[in-house]
Amino acid sequence: MIIGKLKEAIICLRAGRVTLRYPFEPSVVPEGFHGQPQLDIDKCTGCGACSMACPARCIEITDEADQRTMLYCLDRCSYCARCQEVCPEEAIVLSSEFELATDSVDDLRVTARFDLVRCEECGEVVGTRREIEKLAAEMPEKTGISVDQISWLQLCAECKRKRSLETARDLQAPEQ
């Protein structure tokens, strides 16, 4: 009995003070820490892949008039880094920032706005201007389809289906 208590006392004494001085002293996080996601709006095309991937549904996309708004509700973030993983433009990365406490939830909300392109037939949303410009720039070289043929980039899926016969004719190989 007494031996047990002595052993316990030794353990306590040897441990000494173990608590950190945080928040009065900074706490350093390790490399690769999953802190608050940071968005590089210049790189982002507004494609929304992050929004679809996010398990916590932090990223809300609203299309209104000629603008897409992406609202990052970082108060809901679970720091899984899926957004970083899927982003085709490497526009979002998880930073080492973890001191997120605030008394205004707005401090944890980030908004990004993008110009939308709407279907020239029906007005349905096709995508953001950045997405379409990106495709228009890359497509001719990658597929060999000339720039003036890719008018369908301005159409929604349903209108493309309606115009599919014309498109097919446009794209027909010249020898046929």
């Binding site: 495709l135 890359e138 349903e158 794209l171 190989a173």
Partner: protein
């Protein structure tokens, strides 16, 4: 190489292909029959284009062309960016909002694998949708009277023929006006 053949002249807008496709693919149809002007049905399925803009648009190589010439989305690799949807010339890729992935015709790969033709082909009441060897299909298409042949992007992919009669069905109707 085997291709899909859509003979628009025979479509009756019954949408059996849509219901069949839906049945084969977990409740979402990947073929669309669009009715133009109430009288001109256009069944649209993936053309499995040779130049395949969707494959080129995909930033994560989730879309692949198989040895059989089918353009297939590997759903587990898809990141839902939607670029293929915009890139597709025919509007046959849609982003499945529930499943959060891009979805399109896979030529019923699971059926072809066990020797069955795609569901839309077999179910089509009017033989509007067919599937077979490219040259054979082309020969069949060329042999039909009064049809215009339109092909997809490139020289393979889906073969489409449409009636070359100018007048629509409504104009054909010979009714003494009231």
């Amino acid at each position: 190489m085997n291709v899909l053949y859509l003979d628009l002249n025979r479509c009756i807008y019954c949408r059996a292909c849509e219901v069949a496709c839906e049945r084969e693919h977990g409740g979402v149809s990947r073929i669309f029959v669009t009715l133009l002007d109430w009288t001109e049905p256009v069944p649209v399925a993936c053309r499995h284009c040779e130049k395949h803009p969707c494959v080129e648009a995909c930033p994560v190589d989730a879309i692949e062309v198989t040895d059989e010439g089918a353009v297939i989305i590997h759903t587990n690799k898809c990141i839902s960016c939607g670029l293929c949807v915009i890139a597709c010339p025919f509007g046959v890729i849609e982003l499945d909002k529930a499943g959060k992935i891009a979805d399109k015709c896979d030529l019923c790969a699971h059926r072809l694998a066990d020797g069955r033709q795609p569901a839309c082909v077999l179910t089509c009441p009017t033989r509007c949708i067919q599937y077979g060897e490219f040259e054979e299909i082309m020969a069949r298409a060329r042999a039909k009277p009064g049809l215009t042949l339109v092909s997809a992007v490139g020289e393979t992919g889906t073969v489409v023929t449409m009636p070359d009669r100018p007048a629509g069905a409504v104009q054909k109707a010979t009714s003494g006006s009231d």
